[in-house]
């Protein structure tokens, strides 16, 4: 068994440097690597390119890095929950590459899977297709999209074992398994770290081979963005 455990958050993020490219898992604030993001927001690293479906909110998630202007460029599908983000983008301080959510997910998976490029119908005829090769398949135009990889991928799971195997809970899974595949160094944080042998091999979502470092997060706020409820009748 290959042991992936790191004992401190500093060890988990060691090697991170300015101008690197990061992937950060999560959808909205659900399933984001809270502890890694917080630690990064205290480091003096700047000029980062950040691949993440969303950009957090002003005071949580990637918003923390945006506030300190650590991020030079965001590659995302939806960034609408963050006022500081919008300000930096409209003022030109922040470069933004918006790409369709499905293409973003597939490009991360492709990066991890050694598939350098693939065709998708998403975005044909739109701004997204500008400069991209178009080819017809099954009577329908498709555009060629390239794989994405990153120097570091930061992901968050529910449980993990010391070999780096991960299990996610609910829709906190989202982009995490795909980014775990695509990071040169994938740093996984988990709510609960267990010894090998405790997780059912049939139920692993991310096999440990995709994870270089694993640690149990010190705490999880797990903030809810849109609390919607119904009342009991």
């Amino acid at each position: 068994m290959i042991n992936k455990v790191v004992n401190t958050i500093d060890e988990a993020i060691s090697g991170v440097e300015s101008d690197m490219t990061f992937m950060v898992g999560g959808f909205g604030l659900s399933g984001i690597p809270e502890n890694a993001i917080e630690a990064l927001s205290k480091m003096d690293v700047f000029g980062l390119t950040c691949i993440s479906n969303n950009a957090g909110v002003d005071d949580f998630g990637l918003g923390l890095l945006l506030k300190r202007k650590q991020i030079k460029k965001m590659i995302s599908s939806y960034v609408g929950e963050n006022a500081e983000f919008e300000r930096q983008m409209l003022s030109g301080e922040l470069e933004v590459d918006l790409i369709p959510q499905g293409s973003l997910a597939e490009r991360c998976r492709a990066g991890g899977a050694g598939i350098p490029a693939f065709f998708t119908p998403a975005g044909f005829g739109t701004e997204v297709a500008e400069g991209k090769e178009v080819r017809e398949y099954n009577g329908k135009p498709h555009i060629l999209e390239l794989a994405l990889t990153a120097d570091f991928a930061f992901v968050k799971a529910w449980k993990g074992d010391t070999a780096g195997n991960l299990i996610y809970k609910g829709t906190a899974r989202n982009f995490n398994p795909l980014m775990a595949m695509a990071g040169k160094i994938t740093v996984a944080e988990v709510e609960e770290l267990v010894p090998v042998g405790e997780l059912d091999p049939n139920q692993i979502h991310t096999p440990g081979i995709f994870v270089q470092r694993i640690f149990q997060g010190a705490k999880y706020e797990k903030r809810i963005e849109q609390r919607t409820v119904r009342t009991k009748e």
Binding site: P100, Q101, G102, A105, T126, T171, N174, F175, I224
Partner: protein, 218 residues
């Protein structure tokens, strides 16, 4: 009388087919789930990674690990499944999700849709909309017929950056039900008490009007 948002959702719900998988966008589309006709089995997919979405949770039972694509807390129905974002869009791109209902800022008479960007003003991103409109066999748009200034949102050509070309099949607005045909936009139904003339006046695009146009049944 023009429909309200709930009535638009109610009219769209009549389009639901038995035993199909449906993706509902944010806003009016979400309301469609409240009007599923009796005897029609539907499973709702949310593109952040859940199939078999249920109603909102009871107060105090919200789970930060269980949200929909609008980031709202949700529940799941028996038989639900959870998956990652790549698998989710495999379902969408691979046309396993039969119907997508979504909102729009503009639609055009050849079936283009614009709903993701107002240059220089609103740049939130397309989220999953481009994948959805490029893939689903059936796409229904739920929208108000005109904007706040009374200008038509149903146009000969979209003026905003488009989300997809030649992709939507039907538009249900507060005034009318329209079908995108290869000859253009066909008026199918009108809101109760709204005349064909009123609809024509509220529509910049040309409308194909054949025979008598019946009122919607809500």
């Amino acid at each position: 009388m023009a429909l309200d948002k709930n009535q638009i959702a109610q009219r769209i719900a009549q389009e639901l087919q038995h035993n199909t998988y449906v993706n509902l966008g944010i806003g009016i589309p979400t309301l469609v789930a409240n009007y599923i006709p009796k005897g029609i089995d539907i499973e709702f997919q949310s593109e952040n990674g859940v199939l078999g979405m249920g109603p909102f949770p009871f107060e105090g039972e919200e789970d930060p690990d269980m949200i929909n694509a609008g980031k709202q807390t949700i529940t799941t129905m028996p038989g639900a499944a959870i998956f990652d974002s790549a698998t989710s869009f495999a379902m969408i791109r691979g046309q396993h999700v039969q119907l997508t209902v979504l909102g729009a800022m503009e639609v055009s008479e050849n079936g283009d849709i614009a709903n993701w960007k107002i240059p220089g003003k609103m740049v939130k991103g397309m989220g999953g909309a481009m994948d959805l409109v490029a893939s689903a066999d059936n796409i229904i748009v739920a929208m108000m017929h005109t904007n706040r200034s009374g200008e038509s949102k149903i146009l000969k050509q979209c003026t905003l950056p488009i989300t997809g070309v030649n992709c939507i099949k039907k538009v249900v607005t507060n005034l009318a039900v329209l079908e995108v045909t290869k000859d253009g936009l066909k008026l199918l139904e009108r809101a109760p008490g709204v005349s064909v003339e009123e609809i024509k006046n509220a529509t910049e695009a040309d409308l194909i009007i054949r025979g008598e146009i019946h009122e919607m049944r809500i």
